[in-house]
Symmetry: C2
Subunit: 371 residues, 2 copies
């Protein structure tokens, strides 16, 4: 069962779109109202490059919400649940963003670009709209806009070698989430040690979309000797690594989660005297305690098909969990999944099952990450 997606003007192209087409992109999804490649037609090779050598991904759809102006720092702090009082320029921070009722609505990396300028490098929801409403209603002197900035991710164990060759040896000294603005000849960039995998790597934030094709070619050339090839954020690897996917593991409209349920409690600074959106609601959540927690699952039986939508987890007739995404791990040679389970159920507990289209299977909750 295959479906097509048309390239139509109501959805935006990334600056790397044409280069991806030339390099054989086979599938797209839509993320932040932009086309995002999902695969280049060879899933085994794409996984292999990410795990063993180096992959390049068009993640231009990871848009930036830029907050700037005299009240930018105050606004950003109010939008994020994490204490940012010691945030420094040149460092990124993983930050939960919650609605006033404590529901997680995004989990961006915050880049402090300057003392009065920040980027929220967002997952798939219109945080810019939301943030602009808060800024305006509070009367703060801060602009909330989307700059012309589109990341290209270089991921995998050889990513550092590729980016060092392309940009300079100094990139090896960047800490995790550390970044620096630079140029590659005429191409304006911000280079960060980051990316949505646990295989190591960098994101090259392209700061002028006219150079999309040129940057893509330069990365491709720099990585050619190391076997670089195109790919996309990889669901298998992210499940193995226990990376959260806002959208798959929780979304306001489908499966609302709070940060404590998805393991982000350490980034919710309720103890400090800072105020932020959702603080009182999250204090109540913390007091009451959570009823489910994010977890891995081992999935018994033959290699499972990827699920199209979340799967309930049952113990007998009782639903005790939910699986966001199931996959087959080539490295573990097992079916694995990422999802939620009742806090009353411990890892390694038996007696749980799912009933996907390809047949009932037993599942066993497991610690994350798998690898």
């Amino acid at each position: 069962m295959g479906f097509s997606i048309g390239i139509s003007p109501n959805i935006r192209k990334s600056p790397f779109f044409d280069a991806c087409v030339a390099d054989g992109v086979a599938g797209f999804s839509v993320y932040n109202h932009m086309f995002i490649p999902t695969n280049f037609g060879d899933p085994d090779a794409e996984y292999d490059r990410l795990i063993n050598t180096v992959a390049m991904w068009d993640v231009g759809a990871q848009r930036q919400v830029e907050v700037s102006g005299p009240d930018a720092a105050a606004l950003v702090q109010y939008l994020c649940t994490r204490d940012l009082s010691r945030a420094v320029v040149g460092q990124g921070y993983y930050v939960p963003i919650c609605r006033h009722d404590g529901v997680l609505i995004n989990d961006p990396v915050l880049l402090k670009v300057a003392d009065d300028r920040f980027w929220l490098s967002i997952a798939d929801s219109d945080i810019g709209l939301w943030a602009s409403a808060i800024a305006a209603e509070r009367g703060w002197d801060a602009q909330v806009e989307e700059p012309d900035v589109s990341p290209l991710a270089v991921q995998g164990p050889r990513a550092e070698d590729v980016v060092a060759q392309l940009i300079g040896e100094w990139v090896r000294d960047l800490r995790y989430f550390g970044f620096r603005e630079t140029t590659l000849d005429d191409i304006p960039l911000l280079v960060a040690r980051s990316g949505w995998s646990k295989q190591g790597g960098f994101e090259l934030y392209l700061r002028d979309s006219r150079y999309g094709d040129e940057l893509w070619q330069r990365v491709k050339q720099a990585g050619a000797a190391l076997g670089i090839g195109p790919g996309a954020p990889n669901d298998i690897e992210r499940i193995e690594s226990g990376l959260l996917s806002y959208g798959a593991d929780g979304r306001l409209q489908v499966n609302p989660v709070n940060p404590f349920e998805v393991g982000l409690g350490k980034f919710v600074d309720l103890g400090s005297d800072i105020d932020f959106v959702g603080k009182s609601a999250l204090q109540n959540v913390q007091s009451a305690g959570i009823k489910r927690r994010i977890c891995g699952y081992f999935v018994a039986g033959d290699p499972p098909q990827a699920n199209q939508q979340a799967l309930p987890v049952f113990r007998g007739d009782e639903q005790v969990g939910l699986i966001s995404e199931v996959t087959y791990s080539p490295r573990l040679q097992k079916g694995i999944a990422l999802g939620f389970v009742s806090t009353e159920i411990e890892n390694d507990s038996g007696g749980l099952s799912i009933t996907p289209d390809d047949g009932a299977r037993s599942v066993v909750p497991a610690a994350l990450p798998f690898i």
Copy 2:
């Protein structure tokens, strides 16, 4: 050049998804984080049904933002640029929604479901998030949530006959945008005379997603004798009819527009004493006057290919307009388009051109609608 879209758990299925698959859906896009069918593989037949008989569309992705509670009416009025002081239960209203700076961020139909309960039936942006921020920051006693409500559109000259047969003869008395809550056996519905075409028709707002397949089958049966078939919101017809597409004709992040530029000035009630988001910015826009206006274009030459992204319109070296979407009109047997042109240029003016991938063409601004 064809691309696939995978059905993955980070994007939601509509309640009509399985029925559409069974009926041969061939393509999807993503709208409000939900899969929306784009075609069933036979564009000529799909257009023909819409124009000459009757079509049924899964528009479940047209989500509802429900605003309820004691301050619901006040909040909805504050969110919308249109004076709603005389709005009545049972009637829908086309309402621009703007950001505080006057940029259009959605153009829903507002349904006043009860005195203290409203639905904004939204285009593709996270208005619920934005509205919840405003409600909370103002401390208003109103809830902003997404109910389990998914529209199925029945459109075309015979739509009324189909819906009357299925629901009852009373639907013939509904005014444009008029609606009534009802049931079809056990299926809870809200039936409205509305839909994103100018061929007439209804939207059946399904109020319990468990009945998605049943409702689809009932509509299909009711329309069988009249030749009903599946389809999707139709870009050709919408261009012929001059219907605005938030997303294609303007989007906050790509081509920000204000309501006056897109012909919605009549729904911006600056003269009243009501307050709404963006009012002062829109007063400034009105005072300064707009520099471009929405318009049709006749497109010379052979039937044009559908464009993937907006096309600049030139007069010599000067950009004087922008085409959102170009198509071939089977009824006019001409290339036509929808877009913008400088207010200094009148309809029927010569000397304008575009340069799409299939070759330069002259274009002539024209009044909307074409038909």
